[in-house]
């Protein structure tokens, strides 16, 4: 138990670091935790929505995959999809939704695919996502 808790605390503290390299280490370290608590899920969602570095956000999408059944993750990814600062992150979220069969995200994807302000590759991917989820 102590070892698991230590690992969890280490991961959480890495995710707060100034350096993007350390935050990446924290995000991928979360995959090593056997039964991660809600704090880890919250920290990963926080990273997905607010981390200043695009590559750290991308890594958090992958780390969130194993929690894709949780409502908070489904809602958080829909919310993060609307942030257009990093198109590559939006595409990763769309793929996440398709792979985890997030049917409840179809409306958000449809809106994004029709958003003329969105990146072109993102719009195309969103349209593909709607099609995949409606199969």
């Amino acid at each position: 138990v102590e070892l698991g808790e230590m690992r969890q605390m280490l991961t959480l503290s890495l995710m707060q670091q100034q350096s993007a390299t350390e935050r990446l280490r924290g995000v991928s370290g979360s995959l090593e935790i056997d039964q991660p608590g809600n704090e880890i899920v919250r920290a990963l969602l926080d990273t997905l929505m607010h981390d200043p570095n695009v590559n750290v956000r991308l890594a958090s999408v992958d780390a969130l995959r194993r929690f894709s059944e949780r409502d908070v993750v489904r809602q958080g990814t829909v919310q993060a999809l609307a942030d257009s600062s990093f198109p590559l992150v939006q595409i990763a979220i769309i793929d996440f939704m398709v792979e985890t069969k997030a049917k409840d995200a179809v409306d958000a994807l449809r809106r994004l695919s029709a958003d003329v302000a969105a990146n072109e590759a993102v719009r195309g991917r969103a349209a593909w996502g709607v099609q995949q989820l409606n199969l």
Binding site: T21, R65, R66, E69, A121, Q132
Partner: protein
């Protein structure tokens, strides 16, 4: 190239020199140059640059100070004091009441912050740093180049390309619309790295002895390497190009819990509840493990026996992973 306003500024600076020979103007051509030390030069400092317009070029030098060269006026702040380079000769002896505009350089706690004080920014920057320096560089419209620096290097560009040559340490780089080109001479052990782009190629050269777990992915392009990559798993998933791929089978329902044996002693009930709880936990672990395996079209592989995770990813470009010396 001759821009009239700049030549005018140059002439003004020259006149300043003639009129006030004691002024500490160090104009070279129409270029301004400022040298700024870190507060604790004995440990590696960090240089952070954020520009909307204009390119960033960082090179390693043997010096211990950071030297910034640009065509802009430079305003430096350090220990509460402020200096403007070059000062307007007409203003000598007068106090300035407005906020200064131009390139702003501030140093605090070994972090040097360089940003444009103007609305859109503008000029290109050349920065010399000590070899051991951490960098955090971000540009919007123009390219970012780094040569020979050893440290944690974080680089982000929206429209320009990224070119890191002969660097060491650990790199996290993203160019949304440009190419990402990185050659690493030496890696810091156990540090993860990431090199990504939306529309550009990702071209990375690692030392031949680099140990890493790789995650390589190009959605619309190809992945090339001359490393001996031990492929670990590659699970093809649905991609837009193959929309006819059959949908993945639905996740099997959870197996039923083991039936509770008959009996009514409260101790036995507690035991049964405990057993049921453990079984539920086991199942949820199993589910999370399977979700973890459920992955995308990325190629996973290890080089030299594996190590920290390196991600190379682009949406529209190609990925090149090259074996250096």
């Amino acid at each position: 190239m001759w821009h009239t306003p700049k030549s005018a500024a140059f002439v003004a600076a020259l006149m300043g020199l003639l009129l006030a020979p004691s002024a500490f103007v160090r104009a070279q051509g129409d270029t301004n140059r400022v040298s700024m030390p870190f507060s604790d030069p004995s440990r590696p400092g960090t240089v952070r640059v954020n520009l909307f317009q204009g390119s960033i070029k960082v090179t390693a030098s043997t010096g211990r100070e950071v030297v910034v060269t640009t065509d802009e006026t430079i305003v430096t702040r350090r220990d509460g004091r402020e200096a403007v380079v070059p000062p307007r000769p007409e203003a000598i002896g007068l106090r300035r009441l407005t906020q200064p505009s131009g390139l702003q350089i501030t140093e605090e706690n070994n972090v040097m912050l360089i940003s444009s004080g103007r609305f859109m920014g503008g000029e290109d920057l050349v920065i010399e740093v000590p070899v051991r320096t951490n960098l955090n560089l971000s540009a919007f419209n123009d390219e970012i180049e780094v040569e020979g620096v050893n440290g944690e290097i974080e680089v982000t560009s929206m429209n320009g390309e990224i070119d890191l040559r002969n660097v060491s340490g650990a790199v996290v780089a993203h160019a949304t619309n440009g190419e990402v080109r990185v050659s690493l001479r030496q890696l810091t052990a156990d540090k993860p790295m990431a090199f990504t782009s939306l529309n550009g190629d990702v071209d990375v050269t690692l030392p031949a002895s680099a140990r890493a777990n790789l995650r390589l992915r190009s959605d619309q392009g190809e992945v090339y390497t001359d490393f001996d990559v031990q492929i670990q798993q590659a699970r093809p998933g649905p991609t837009p190009g193959q929309a006819k791929v059959a949908p993945a089978p639905p996740r099997p329902p959870l197996p039923p819990l083991p039936p509770l044996p008959p009996g009514s002693s409260s101790k036995r009930e507690a035991e049964q509840r405990e057993r049921a709880r453990r079984e539920l936990e086991r199942q949820s672990r199993e589910l999370e493990r399977r979700n973890r395996m459920l992955d995308d079209t990325a190629i996973y592989g290890a080089i030299n026996g594996g190590g920290p995770e390196f991600e190379l990813r682009t949406f529209n470009g190609d990925v090149f992973l090259r074996r250096g010396k």
